[in-house]
Symmetry: C2
Subunit: 339 residues, 2 copies
């Protein structure tokens, strides 16, 4: 979406894209206490992650658990934090309940399917492009092409509807999603920066289909016992500044990773030189899972342009937002970042 | 509200009011397996609870825990089930969070304050009529008259707002409640049959102020990371037929009662003859907690009209909705019921 300019207030061009990356800490600011040079970390940025070196305030840096690869780290944060909030903080998912996941082949969709398995006896309904069904068929219980009337199909299996609807499509799917909720069901409209790796067409429709979405009176929700919500991770992190909350979730998710219960699904890994090929794959909706850019690997193209991996100095900011001028420069080269 | 006719589709007059009662089982239907004559029970009805004997389908009957009085039983179900769903099923209340409770002196308000204490370090903000503040001051952290600009007062203490807003007032309070939510905050509009025992004026405004409530686009919730919901217990129980779900909650609440963590606040107990005085007390908003009618006690009026306590035979229906014609009659006399 960023690449296509299909977002509100896009940055002025030229700019560096990318919202998350993983690598080693090269330098830290003076006031930073919880990190040291050489730490293997995930970093979340408000753009500029597609680079050899990234400067990022310390409150957006998370030490990776032992055994996590940089590629897994680069594909972890946005998908899993989003999925965790949707299912457990808002969706309040309980054993025996049911979930509808749109774009089940996307990054968040894959994470949602894995996290659903951590709760006993959860039924997962999903939608995805038909070409992805073969790759996805073992990951959820009922899979539909988005073109079919999935709400009618779901009603055949579960006449009461579903407990949790997680909607990254918006538009007419919002109204459908709310109408298919069971009593006390939760509908959540969500997005995150990793939409660029996923179902681009669907998210593009987000911007276009604002007018399709019915406004709802809370009194209607009272009459029907329904819950509706919205979730936007980057808004939560960068504008609403809920760092501590997010850090707690990341800790929980790292534990699940270490226990082998969740694992980022990486579709493919590309050299920086091959970013155009990587984007094309996403644009063609050919990917199942995350596309990762890795500056340490060689280009697959015949005419490789060698990257200049000279370190770039950069500043880190303390969690307390201390005076940046006291911070020493830092850098994290040759590490993967996701599209 | 029922008494004032301020509800949708009121029953045709004359009819018997009352939605909940407690007493002994006098007779059971043939297909009823989990109850026996003499069991001390709470029963929930769709009207007709203000009577010496009540016939009720078995799925709306709950065996009281040992040690629960009939008066406590009659004041238990609507308040605590509503409060539990609001705080834990929808509100997803966590340690360290904050809650705003309107009509804190009402039946649900009192139950909410008690249930909040079962979670560590929860801050409770409340509104109530000034004359109730003395009786309530130890039950919550910050109490305001509803006439003051409570949202401004709350912002002075908690600039970010509150995590959970539980709104039985509706109208302009709905818009205020949604605007005072923290990121990921939950707003719930609710009602339950026990509104007749509580802040009648406030609930009356519910019907009148429909047009005050702004409709909300899910996209706005996405932009702001907010959750809005509605909850209506009688709808859930009698129309949406979520008996099993409610029965599980009642079990949890009975455990909390037995552990001494929750206890219905009973404002006063009245003979059936004194129902007019009981109603007047409620109408004057003089009660703090539940008003109970008890056919076993003597009238406080000088000219007592003695009640005829002859047993009335009545039918019970099996949970499986088996043929009612097979059910034997049953009755539960001389037991309290709430207004």
């Amino acid at each position: 979406m960023v690449r296509q300019g299909a977002i509100d207030n896009p940055p002025k061009v030229p700019f560096v894209m990318g919202f998350e990356c993983a690598g080693e800490v090269e330098a830290i600011g003076e006031a930073v206490e919880d990190l040291k040079i050489g730490d293997r970390v995930i970093a979340v940025t408000d753009y500029r992650a597609w680079a050899e070196s990234v400067c990022v305030p310390a409150q957006f840096v998370y030490k990776m658990p032992a055994g996590m690869t940089f590629q897994d780290g680069a594909a972890f944060f946005m998908n899993y934090v989003t999925a965790y909030v949707l299912l457990f903080e808002i969706g309040n998912l309980r054993p025996g309940q049911s979930v509808l996941v749109h774009s089940a082949g996307g990054g968040v969709g894959t994470a949602l399917c894995q996290l659903c398995k951590t709760v006993e006896n959860v039924t997962v309904f999903g939608t995805a492009s038909t070409q992805k069904h073969e790759a996805l068929k073992d990951k959820l219980d009922h899979l539909y092409d988005h073109g079919v009337d999935y709400s009618q199909e779901i009603r055949k299996i579960s006449p009461d509807g579903v407990d949790v609807v997680l909607d990254c499509l918006c538009g007419e799917d919002t109204n459908k999603g709310i109408s298919i909720l069971k009593p006390l069901g939760r509908y959540v409209l969500f997005g995150s920066s990793n939409v660029v790796t996923g179902e681009t067409k669907s998210f593009f429709s987000f911007a276009k289909s604002w007018w399709h979405v019915d406004k709802i009176s809370p009194i209607k929700l009272y009459d029907e016992n329904k819950i509706i919500a919205g979730f936007h991770l980057r808004e939560l992190l960068f504008k609403q500044r809920r760092h501590d909350f997010v850090r707690r979730l990341v800790g929980t998710l790292f534990d699940l990773y270490t226990a082998g219960k969740i694992r980022p699904q990486i579709d493919s890994v590309w050299a920086f030189d091959d970013v155009i090929l990587a984007m094309q794959r996403m644009h063609d909706r050919a990917n199942v899972g995350k596309i990762v850019l890795d500056p340490s690997i060689e280009s697959k193209q015949q005419e490789t342009i060698h990257l200049n991996l000279t370190l770039v100095t950069l500043q880190c900011q303390a969690p307390s937002d201390a005076d940046q001028s006291t911070n020493a420069p830092t850098a994290a080269p040759k590490t993967p970042r996701t599209t």
